[in-house]
Subunit: 111 residues, 2 copies
Amino acid sequence: MFEIIAEPNRRAILSLLVSSQQSVGEIERQLRMPQPTVSKHLRVLREAGFVESTVDAQRRLYRLKPEPLQEVDAWLAPFRRFWSAHVDALERHLDRMDQLTQTKRKTRRRR
Amino acid sequence: MFEIIAEPNRRAILSLLVSSQQSVGEIERQLRMPQPTVSKHLRVLREAGFVESTVDAQRRLYRLKPEPLQEVDAWLAPFRRFWSAHVDALERHLDRMDQLTQTKRKTRRRR
DNA sequence: CCTTTATATACCTTGACACGTATATGCTCT
DNA sequence: AGAGCATATACGTGTCAAGGTATATAAAGG
C-alpha cells in the first residue's frame, strides 16, 4: 500500500483522478507521460485496489476507490494524536509563560 | 517522504516512537531487528526529519518529529474530501430509496 | 588504561522496480 | 475486411535501496 503511493507518477495519477474519472489518454496528455508508463502504473494501482476501470468503447475510464487511501489515513491516526498532544503541550507551556509574565507586563495573550 | 514510510521496518520504528522516545538498543530488542539495520533506518528517518536524537551518555535517544507525517496527512486531505463526498452521495441515495419505499411499508430508516 | 557497552559506518551482494522500445490486443468506422 | 486509434503487455536494461557481515568510533566503569 505504502509502496504504491511512494511512486511520484502514481501519486500524480491519483491526484488527477480525485477530481473526476479519466481515460488513459487523458492522463497521458495531462501528465506528459508515455502511454505504456501510464498503463503500467494504472495496472499496479488497479491491482492494489486504488482505482477501478470501466470500458467505454476503445477507452478505459479509471476512477478512484477510497479504501486503500482510507487505510493510509487510519495508519496516520496515532500520529495525529501524537502531534495534537504536542500542540496542547505547547499551548499549556505558553499559558504558563503567560502566567509568569503577566505580573510584569500587564498584557495577556489572546486565546 | 513517501519513500521513507514505504519501508515496513521504518514504519515499525515510527509506531514505536509514537508512545515515547527510545534508545537504539530498546528499538533493536522490541523489533527483533539487527542493530546496524536499526541504525541505518534511524539515519534515514533522521535525515528526512521524521525523528531527532539526543545524546544520553553512550546511548542516543530518538523521538518523533511531527512535520513530515503532517505533510503526508496534508497530501491526503483532497482524498478525504473525495471519500466523504461519496459517503454523502450514498446517504442521499439511501434516503431517496427510503422516500420511495416508505409509502409501501410504513417503517422508516433511522437517521 | 583496558574492557565492555552502545551506536555508527563501510563494503558487498542481491533483488525489485521503473523506464524505454517494440509489439500485441481489441474496438470502431468505412 | 482493413485501417486507424486506444490500451495493454513483453522484454531487456540500469539503478537504487535493503540486508548481512565486519569494523570503526566513542563513552563508561573497573
